[in-house]
């Protein structure tokens, strides 16, 4: 008779991580074209420079790495505000906070989803914008590699700011103030690597540093974000 009562199944951390990642990707898919906005912003900002400065190949070649990097940074920042906001507004964030699974791991799933939606398209699109700014074809892979490492770091660092400002009604400006100073090292090494590659210099050092920063952020940012989220909902 007791057989009608169903048995409990243990939900592993891996399942929770995967389900949350899947949920966030599905939400983006269903929301239509919203995810494309930062990408369009990125393309438009980069293409404004040749219009404003003039199509001189030499100048563009010189400023190209910086322009692409700053634009990618701003595009990441633009998308950051939405990382936790909708979950906060409809109460889904409470369910995540009340989960017995480690919050930092769940946060990592959300940040990974966010990077796949906003960071990865930037990386894939960057060679096209490199061509627009007269970058050498040999530089393209450095541009993509630095952006891949860099945008992931930016998403991780940014998640701390997004978590801190999730309860603030118009937190966008505050978020930029909090996060932009922390973005500076990534910007310096990222654009410097691309510029060095353009001059035919070695870029191994900068790439290693960017990789180091990514792993540091990977280790520390989710924990800080989890703590910030708990403070923000209080």
């Amino acid at each position: 008779m007791q057989d009608t009562t169903t048995s409990a199944v243990h939900v592993s951390l891996g399942q929770a991580f995967w389900q949350l990642l899947r949920r966030d990707l599905l939400l983006t898919l269903r929301r239509g074209n919203e995810w494309i906005n930062p990408l369009v912003f990125f393309v438009i900002v980069v293409s404004l420079f040749p219009l404003g400065i003039g199509p001189g190949a030499k100048t563009l070649q010189l400023i190209g790495p910086g322009v692409v990097w700053v634009s990618a940074l701003l595009a990441t920042l633009l998308a950051l505000d939405g990382l936790f906001r909708s979950d906060y507004q409809d109460g889904a964030l409470e369910l995540i906070l009340l989960s017995p699974h480690p919050l930092s791991v769940l946060v990592l799933a959300k940040v990974l989803a966010h990077w796949l939606i906003t960071g990865l398209p930037l990386v894939l699109l960057s060679p096209l914008l490199g061509v627009l700014l007269h970058q050498d074809s040999s530089v393209m892979w450095v541009l993509m590699a630095t952006l891949a490492l860099g945008t992931a770091t930016l998403s991780l660092i940014g998640s701390i700011g997004a978590a801190l400002t999730v309860g603030v009604r118009r937190g966008g400006v505050l978020l930029s103030l909090l996060v932009l100073p922390l973005y500076v090292p990534v910007l310096i090494f990222g654009s410097n690597a691309v510029a060095s590659a353009g001059m035919g210099l070695a870029v191994k050092g900068q790439l290693s540093l960017l990789g180091g920063m990514l792993f540091l952020a990977l280790a520390l940012a989710p924990v800080a974000t989890a703590a910030s989220l708990r403070v923000s909902v209080e």
Partner: protein
């Protein structure tokens, strides 16, 4: 040996309560005192209603019990261990239906349940469509929750209680927007849960008769 004796002494000094205990809670909202010296326990099989008028701190109290808020004084204990130290243990047994229902507009009812279940630790091996059907939501597995009515959304939120094996339910105004049939179904779920040894803490302004289980009430204000 020595550790055992010390443990016994501790047990004599303070009886460990299995379940949730609020001990001398005090909370202010700005300058206003919401409640003070508030102590109560919720044990296995008990249903506790938090009573009080609008704005007297019911939701605040529930959030404190769930560890989403912090009391100005006092502590919340789960199986004798104070929060936030007992957070993993409490959360592995907690099902929460809050003031905001936590339902994603873009997902279907079933996808919402799936996502909620993944956030728990002990999932019940149940058919989601049967659970939704028992709550009067038929053929809702293809329609995004955006197009559901307020009452139907509340039912989806309550369906979360049936898909995890949580011991303690915290429900903030679960009757909001529910019709008579929905209310009766929730009543049945709560009584059944209590009879199986579960605990329920809830708030409501409506009359909710719960026959056949151990009911208590905590009055605020």
């Amino acid at each position: 040996m020595g550790g055992g004796v010390r443990g016994d002494l501790k047990a004599v000094n303070r009886v460990v309560i299995q379940g949730l205990e609020a001990r001398e809670l005090e909370c202010f909202r700005g300058e206003t005192l919401l409640f003070q010296q508030l102590s109560f326990t919720v044990r296995s099989g008990e249903v506790v209603q938090i009573e009080g008028g609008n704005g007297c701190g019911k939701t605040t109290l529930l959030r404190i019990l769930g560890g989403l808020g912090v009391a100005d004084e006092g502590q919340v204990l789960w199986d004798g261990v104070p929060m936030p130290r007992s957070r993993p243990e409490l959360y592995s047994q907690l099902a929460w239906v809050g003031h905001r229902d936590g339902i994603k507009d873009e997902l279907t009812a079933i996808e919402n349940l799936q996502a909620a279940q993944a956030m728990s630790e002990h999932a019940k091996d149940v058919d989601f469509s049967l659970v939704l059907e028992s709550l009067g939501l038929v053929d809702r597995d293809t329609i995004p929750c955006r197009s559901l009515s307020a009452g139907q959304r509340r039912r989806v939120a309550l369906a979360r209680l049936a898909v995890t094996d949580a011991k303690i339910w915290i429900l903030d105004e679960p009757l909001t927007a529910l019709d008579v049939a929905g209310r009766e179904q929730l009543q049945r779920m709560m009584v059944e849960h209590a009879q199986m040894g579960g605990m329920v803490i809830y708030t409501t302004h409506q009359h909710l008769p719960l026959a056949g289980c151990d009911c208590k009430s905590v009055v605020l204000g």
